[in-house]
């Protein structure tokens, strides 16, 4: 499924209105969430309905309308460049799933074939 380049809202709407089980599996992998086959079945159906419903935003999102990403306009906000005490290392590491020698202990980063 591809979104056509043509800007026609209705064309886009038509093309966007399906979300297959395979697509949900692909996106869940991108989001690093393991799903059981039963979850995939259910989510695919639910998400398809939701996507069809939210796709109507393109009906009024014409090219002349600027996008808003933030409710109140702000730019270049900085705080004073003053040193502050960091979080207590031991307190932070005490909450980690695993720690060793004052560091987070994590699983191997690369697969065997990497």
């Amino acid at each position: 499924m591809r979104v056509p380049e043509a800007p026609g809202a209705l064309t886009r709407l038509g093309a966007m209105s399906t979300l297959s089980r395979d697509e949900v599996a692909r996106v869940a992998a991108l989001a690093r969430i393991d799903l059981t086959p039963a979850e995939l079945d259910r989510l695919a159906g639910e998400l398809d309905v939701i996507v069809q419903s939210v796709a109507r935003v393109s009906e009024i999102a014409t090219p002349d309308v600027p996008a808003t990403s933030h409710p109140l306009p702000l730019s270049n906000v900085f705080r004073a460049d003053e040193p502050e005490a960091p979080l207590d290392r031991d307190e932070v590491l005490a909450q980690a799933p695993a720690a060793e020698d004052g560091k987070f202990l994590v699983p191997q980063i690369l697969g065997e074939d990497a």
Binding site: V3, R32, D34, E46, L47, I50, P71, Q95
Partner: protein, 504 residues
């Protein structure tokens, strides 16, 4: 002695100052109330009795020595579990954070601690604030004190239920699309979503950063104003925090309570009533309008044609932002870590296994929806279009505020529905927030206050909306409407709620 837990925060504060009651007694009374009713209500995920009593004792000692104290010092408060509290468990309603003890305080918690309000505990919520019923909590449902078979609203059902059940006079909520106001509406309480940036977001576990805002959850408009004053103010740790001085919200509420709204223009948003709204909700709304008119306000109708698209835009913007905010729950630095049941134990596979097991259904739905809306090929059509709708909604508000000083609507289309009723229909659940979502998209402030009972005997909420940075208008108009309604009812609406069975 009368029951301390029935006092408003302002009344309790006055009694503390007058020495008629100690903070220790007040805190203990609320802890006793929690012990007596929270089994069936389940507003709290964690009760911090020892810490609260220690704070209370400190306040009493300081008062005895004549120390200068904050006006709310010693008044107990409950905090929604999405707000981090150093050393107190914070889960955001998710199993993925089960047992996590944050190593720092949210700025609003630092302010609460500096003002010396005893923190009673952490309140239940939909997981990561995703939901309108608190049924998506990883730790069980919260029940509406008006009818334990019904939802307390969400995501902040715990804070609203705690206040409605007299377990706390004050609570903190957060509102991304209605999570303070909709629970207030269905529990007969008051909730305010401040102007975006009025209250620091530092230390809120972020859902959608461009929409999230913390605010007060209380039983009266004046209490909300006083709590808002306490938690507001500029914070260098939040780049979106407003630098404006904090207005005197309490004064605005007191002025409003005098009941004179002469010259105030009230705009009724045409698109936020009518079809889809329960008849009993609309009756109470009309009654509220008549009272405002009687107080001298000029009521006009305004149209916000793009509000019909707000829900769709919200369910693209929120999942998109949430999918990136929740990427940090990866099983590496805090919270749950799950190793895959078979195959190599690599970081990526641990992340996927952890998130698969640690997140609930609604969180998975929204992360996947957001990831999809942001993914290559769909970004412009979905997220880009939604951001344009956001512009159109802001323009609607700008136009409407040209004709009116405040806008009003019912807070939610229906009263509290039964637990389980909408759990299997995400879209039906999302519709609960149809009247509250436009407010977050525009960053303007909104309040819900009780406007009576529907024909089903359950509370109805009245929403007041003001322009950005004009939050004091909410307190003035809300204070006036509350005073007029209470004069008609002969007391607060919660006096009509059935008494909860007390278990010990």
């Amino acid at each position: 002695m009368s029951d301390i837990t029935r006092l408003t925060a302002a009344e309790l504060a006055a009694q503390l100052v007058a020495g008629e009651v100690s903070s220790y007694e007040a805190t203990q009374a609320h802890l006793d109330r929690i012990a007596a009713v929270d089994g069936p209500v389940h507003a709290f995920l964690h009760v911090s009795a020892e810490e609260a009593l220690a704070t209370a004792r400190g306040v009493d000692e300081a008062r005895a020595t004549g120390e200068d104290l904050h006006p709310l010092a010693g008044v107990p408060i409950a905090v929604k579990d999405v707000v981090v509290t150093r050393g107190l468990p914070t889960t955001a309603g998710s199993r993925i954070l089960d047992g996590w003890l944050p190593p720092y305080d949210a700025t609003l918690v630092s302010k609460i601690k500096a003002a010396r309000l005893p923190i009673l505990g952490k309140t239940n919520m939909d997981e990561f604030a995703m939901g309108s019923s608190t049924e998506h909590s990883g730790y069980g449902n919260t029940h509406n004190p008006w009818d334990l078979d019904r939802i307390p609203g969400g995501s902040g059902g715990g804070s609203a239920a705690a206040v409605a059940a007299y377990e706390a006079p004050l609570a903190i909520g957060t509102d991304t699309g209605g999570s303070i106001r909709q629970p207030a509406a269905v529990t007969g309480t008051v909730g305010v979503k401040p102007t975006y940036g009025s209250v620091s977001r530092y230390g809120l576990i972020a859902l959608a950063s461009s929409l999230d805002q913390a605010g007060p959850v209380t039983r009266t408009v004046l209490d909300a104003a006083l709590l808002h004053e306490l938690i507001a103010g500029h914070d260098p740790h939040d780049s979106t925090s407003l630098t404006d001085p904090v207005p005197a919200f309490g004064e605005a509420a007191r002025r409003g309570a005098a009941g004179d709204l002469t010259g105030v223009r009230v705009g009724v948003v045409k698109e936020l009533s009518g079809e889809g709204y329960q008849p009993g909700v609309l009756v109470r709304f009309e009654e509220g309008l008549a009272l405002l008119r009687g107080a001298g306000a000029e009521v006009v109708e305004v149209s916000c044609p793009h509000f019909d698209y707000a829900l769709a835009a919200y369910y693209l913007i929120l999942p998109a932002e949430a999918s990136s905010n929740l990427a940090k729950f990866d099983g590496m630095r805090y919270g749950l870590r799950v190793e895959p049941s078979e195959g190599p134990v690599t970081a990526e596979r641990v992340m996927a296994a952890t998130r698969g097991q640690g997140f609930g259904d609604e969180v998975k739905r929204r992360i996947i929806l957001g990831t999809y809306a942001l993914s290559a090929g769909y970004y412009d059509a979905y997220y880009g279009s939604a951001q344009k709708v956001r512009t159109l909604i802001q323009r609607d508000f700008a136009e409407a505020f040209g004709q009116a000083d405040v806008l009003v609507s019912p807070t939610a289309p229906t009263t509290a529905f039964r637990l389980g009723e909408k759990l299997d229909d995400p879209l039906a659940m999302y519709l609960n927030d149809v009247a509250t979502i436009p407010v977050n998209l525009a960053g303007v402030p909104g309040m819900s206050l009780p406007s009576g009972l529907s024909d089903d005997g359950l509370p109805v909420g009245f929403q007041v909306i003001a322009p950005a940075r004009a939050d004091e208008r909410l307190y003035r108009v809300g204070g006036a409407l509350e005073a007029l309604l209470e004069a008609r009812w002969g007391g607060p609406i919660l006096a009509k709620a059935p008494e909860l069975e007390v278990t010990r």
